[in-house]
Amino acid sequence: MSGRTLAVVSAGLGQPSSTRLLADRLAAATAASLREQTGEAVTVTVVELRDIARELTDNLLTGFPPAGLRAAVEGVLAADGLVAVTPIFNASYSGLFKTFFDVLDEGSLQATPVLLGATGGTARHSLALEFAVRPMFAYLRSDVVPTAVFAASEDWGSTSAEGGLARRVDRAGSELATAVASRDPASSRPRSVVADGFDDPVPFEQLLTGR
């Protein structure tokens, strides 16, 4: 498969949702910049966590993903880059947003370029991106781009399309595009960078001697 893929994870709950609106803006800006930088086609896959909210809870309880969630996870893990956007609840990401990343296998998003976004009522919540969301992706060892975009109610009310939000979106999108463009396409890489004990088991003699 030629071209690049972007996955978008949106944890917005309303319909329509300002979180999804921001996610779409970030994805569009990234895709435009990526096309410009690589000349390749860009495919965007959106995962609305609201649609798989029950399946996420089931996964927590049963330990395995139902079909819809499994497809969503596979889509995200196969992408070249990820746009992850959450509403800010109680000074942090929403529980639904975290649950999606909690059910991924360890190492799944290691080295994946990620752009973070968040929404909230006022700009007073904006640093939650830096003290809550970014550390989680640091733990996942993802490659998070420097600009994270927060959109408050006042940003959506701005009459100027050239206002601060548009500039932040473009800057963040171009950072993610640059990070994605600097890597080989995911479709050309081995599917998983994590050693798989099923395909490649540790020989028992090695287990027996304590490695």
Binding site: T57, L60, L61, F64, P201, V202, F204, L207, G210
Partner: protein, 389 residues
Amino acid sequence: MQFGIFTVGDVTPDPTTGRTPSEHERIKAMVAIAKKAEEVGLDVVATGEHHNPPFVPSSPTTMLGYIAAQTKRIVLSTATTLITTNDPVKIAEDYAMLQHLADGRVDLMMGRGNTGPVYPWFGRDIRDGIDLAVENYALLHRLWREDVVTWQGRFRTPLQSFTATPRPLDGVPPFVWHGSIRSPEIAEQAAYYGDGFFHNNIFWPIEHTRRMVQLYRRRFEHYGHGKADQAIVGLGGQVFMRPRSQDAVAEFRPYFDVAPVYGHGPTLEEFTEQTPLTVGSPQQVVERYASMREHVGDYQRQLFLMDHAGLPLKTVLEQIDLLGEQVVPVLRKEMAAGRPAHVPDAPTHASLVAAAGGPHDSTVHAVDDVTGQSPDADPTDGRTLELVR
């Protein structure tokens, strides 16, 4: 092919009445269930081992010894024996004793145990789970095969010239299965020894089971125990039956909805689609389980979980009647059809004795403290085994 039942031994309230059985009732119910399993012609009954509430079976060989005395034919097994927190010396002794008392009707399934807090109660650490399973089983394997063992390892007190008694019946150790849900290391361990591999798939999609079993089969062949399709595979299962499918669903749903492990999550319909749980008529159960070998190949042992989630004893006994009368006889025929001749049955004591060239008394006699002689004295067999590491 062997068919049987396995139990976790949980004490769970019956959600339809709110009543919780006492530990005493539950323990007696486990015995009644095992006797019913033999009565209806099942081949195996296996008990779990747990050391924390709400589970009762902390002492499996006591339970199995009692059942052995009240049954004649059924094979007694475990699901699982904690190879991590039990002393392998004690496992060697306890199960050899059980093997003698039960005239060989004994095998075991090794498991690690997945409850972190249990490990420290036995001086262990769950983070060492795999290493404990590897080292402890390596010692157990020797204790049943070598009369005198000198050994040193990482976890247990060293052994100098130790003989585990009684020696295995007829000189043949109990057959061992290794149970694991997610750990490729355990499939690898089972393959290395040529032991059985049991995938307790009751809470898992069949794709995952297939992957685990394929790994075990591939490595079984790698270690030279036979072809991949000759490896010894067991699967779990979970069913609830009534002659009319809709009655089964209506009766089981309140138990399903609040069951330990999966309750309060997926619907009964979703979970039956995603996992081997089958709720319906005996015919539906037959169809579902007859299809398992399409995913994992011809296999040797199918165990069903029947007594859980607070189901009353009377219901469980009715379920085992249905299993023995309407499901297993049909499944035996279905599973035998088209099964290649080179695919073996699960080993039993009789088959292992035959493979060993017949029974031999493996009694080890003590050295006489007056003469210094042993009736077993044989200069060529005066083995002092060197340390493995």
